[in-house]
Subunit: 339 residues, 2 copies
């Protein structure tokens, strides 16, 4: 196997010019004659030449490769619907602009830190999502001098793209309120920036609506954790004065809640209403469709990629900012009108 790769040297020989001329011809420098360029390119094509990225990277200090850090505590990784969709969009956008995507390995057995790994591979930029931002290694990575954008987490003085959780919860709660619900419980995710935003938005909106929220209506579960939401839901249902509607951390967790409700012999939404978050495709296919906030994952990934590539290619003129992407209420049938 393995015929040898053809290099610039071979082309130079075939064209009877120097290697430098070949390089400049292929990179369209303007100190090479047009006919020479044409000839060299023709021969290069014929000989089946492609550049060697390692050599190019070595010389130019640019890899055209973006590192992706993409883990969470629960090790959902790629199977996390929301982040998979964001990453997919990110990937497409980056690829269109000539960048490749490589994962920053999460296994530490090569005893490289995230930052060491990123430097080793020479990533031009980094995107971080779906992660424990308290991890000191993550902080080290963000502090490192590689261009970085974070998704759904704002880090001091770095570019971040976040979904509008404040507006999301406000819209959702207002919608439920307008459907006549006054006893609304909120099972929220574990402590994180996202959770905090949603929670404070929940309280603020409740206040604006003149809604009183008893403490026992606010419970902590976790994202994508059906078991926990199942348990919290049971607790809510056993309250002396149970809620008429329950909001969940996300659609997935919502299914756990629905199971608890069914187990109690109750129906959704006739006996009790529920709503999720994220608007994952599957939740819109079920009966009843889950009322939720559809996240604009397409936009999130696209903006993240564009901002990062801007930062890589034009560091001076790129605005360091936090971009907020709005979601949209998906009105399913899981919230009953009881007004």
């Amino acid at each position: 196997m393995g015929r040898k790769m053809v290099s610039m040297k071979d082309i130079a020989a075939a064209c009877e010019v120097s290697v430098a001329t070949v390089s400049k011809a292929l990179n369209d420098h303007d100190d090479i004659g047009q006919e020479t360029k044409d000839h060299i390119r023709l021969i290069a094509e014929k000989m089946g030449y492609f550049p060697n990225s390692a050599a190019k990277a070595l010389k130019t200090n640019r890899t055209n490769n973006i590192g992706v850090l993409f883990v969470d505590g629960a090790r959902n990784g790629l199977t996390h619907d929301y982040f998979a969709r964001v990453l997919d969009s990110f990937k497409r956008t980056a690829e269109e602009k000539g960048f490749d995507i490589t994962f920053i390995s999460e296994s530490k057995n090569n005893n490289m830190s995230y930052l060491a790994h990123a430097r080793y591979r020479g990533f031009d930029g980094i995107v971080i999502a779906c992660i424990d931002f308290m991890d000191p290694e993550v902080e080290e990575l963000i502090r490192g001098n590689i261009p970085v954008v974070t998704i759904d987490h704002i880090f001091n003085n770095r570019i971040a793209v976040t979904s509008d959780n404040v507006k999301g919860i406000r819209d959702l709660l207002t919608y439920v309120y307008n459907k006549g619900h006054r006893k609304i419980a909120y099972i929220h995710g574990a402590d994180s920036a996202v959770t905090q935003n949603r929670l404070s938005s929940f309280y603020k909106t409740a206040e604006e609506l003149g809604l009183s929220v008893p403490d026992e209506y606010i419970l902590e579960a976790a994202y994508r954790n059906t078991e926990l939401s199942y348990k919290r839901t049971l607790e809510l249902l056993e309250l002396p004065d149970p809620p008429t509607c329950i909001l969940y951390p996300d659609d997935f967790a919502c299914f756990g809640g629905i199971n608890a409700i069914h187990e109690k012999g109750l129906r959704v939404p006739e006996d009790i209403s529920v709503a999720g978050y994220d608007g994952i495709p599957i939740a819109q296919l079920l009966n009843p469709q889950i009322t939720s906030i559809s996240q604009n994952t397409e936009m999130l990934g696209k903006i993240a990629a564009n901002k990062l590539i801007d930062l890589i290619t034009r560091p001076k003129t790129t605005l360091i900012e936090q971009v907020v992407v709005e979601g949209q209420l998906f009105e399913g049938q899981s919230v009953a009108d009881i007004s």
Copy 2:
């Protein structure tokens, strides 16, 4: 920004040895004294040295990087539950062995073919899944002299890891049969190796069971396509002699079918039974849980990674074979016992 990276040259200077000695010390060659090694490593550590993968790759022709081709016609990409799970497992296994994962870009606007891209990046190996294997570019890639393993598609004389679709359908059909069903329809996926295996297994098993299968019970839809399965299901339900049970291409598509059933005012499984394929997590959380064949995605990804890395590191002694991974019947409540 950007303090300079420390290179072997810097370490050599600090230790007053040659660059070659540093290289050999760090790579644990045996012609370097133990104390010298220790000293060099200590200094390297202190100076915050990490190797430069580009330089290493250039010299050794090894990148420790694996290319992933991961597209399908419907452009589901990463959001495809089944393949996302396989890839996730693949990724973890590869990372444990010191390999990184880079996507082979699907956007052709850089006018590189898959193979050109793979050579450009110098991938040590390639894994291909979730794809149109008829694409001539894919064939070119597989024919190229880069170690490759394919998932769920067998290509002549290459390593392949496939899930056992024959056994899967046999188990599923037999299970349904044993529940008393005799009028069983099969809405299958679009034409592909996987589909063909499943279809012939369906017919073979039916024959063994003495089951007659009218032609109008076999319909073509597509994987992960809820709309098509919805339509086919309506067609089945309007038959003069409708089936009592319908098998679907996958769990996702199955939801489309269930919607059609509900729309007709029928219940699952009381009025009509359904079964999916893949055993995606969400399908086991719903009410009723979807009876399905749980694919062993963990094993698929792991085996694919191990075989590929074997092929990369020990090409001579690696057996070129097709590994088949069995799934497992998940018995939900979507198939009624009517015996």
